[in-house]
Symmetry: C2
């Protein structure tokens, strides 16, 4: 099985650095495709393709305005990513993480290691 498609979810879509840049650029205000091209200095087809991916996973929204197409970041779609990372917050800071860690470490030693009569 190959890697999951970039359009499968926000995690995959955001793995590409240029797409992250695009999201940052489109977050404060909506912009036309050519603005992205100019600002990030990417080829136009490349931008269109990245925007397509972002659109498919709901990370951007789109609106037609005359000849141009305006895109904007849909920040809500980044919430799951943020929340997922937040689950680890307690482990990189704060005491709760350490205390719990220590307690479970303790339990592991007594349970798992003993289950097969292992030494050490």
């Amino acid at each position: 099985m190959p890697r999951a498609t970039t359009t499968s979810d926000a995690f995959n879509a955001v793995a590409e650095p240029r797409r992250r840049e695009i999201l940052e650029f489109l977050a404060p205000q909506e912009r036309a495709v050519n603005d992205v091209v100019a600002e990030l200095r990417l080829a136009q087809p490349s931008v269109s393709k990245h925007l397509r991916v972002l659109l498919d996973v709901g990370l951007v929204q789109m609106r037609r305005e005359g000849r141009q197409v305006l895109y904007r970041t849909n920040a809500k779609a980044l919430q799951p990513l943020h929340e997922w990372a937040s689950r680890f917050e307690r482990y990189w800071r704060g005491q709760l993480g350490r205390v719990k860690e220590r307690a479970e470490e303790q339990e592991r030693r007594t349970n798992e290691t003993t289950k097969k009569g292992r030494k050490r």
Copy 2:
């Protein structure tokens, strides 16, 4: 250019769902490889490979203990991801985001009604 390698950074490493599961499992306490295999019901070589990727980007740490190799999540390596997502927090909640949104919505509306067939 193909997609960046999974070992290039945390974003790419975390794009794979199984690796996220592994990180969750290894966050509270360190575990042997076989524990991961048993708990997540993955093939052993698969787990070893995923752990290798996670190790390369610093998302887990490793320690040998007799025959087994114990892994644990290095939560600090997830901080950049969390911080990146946090930059969008103001856009999905909070007033700044909404105010700006409303302002633009307003402007969009005025343009549409006022200047119906203009040039750009």
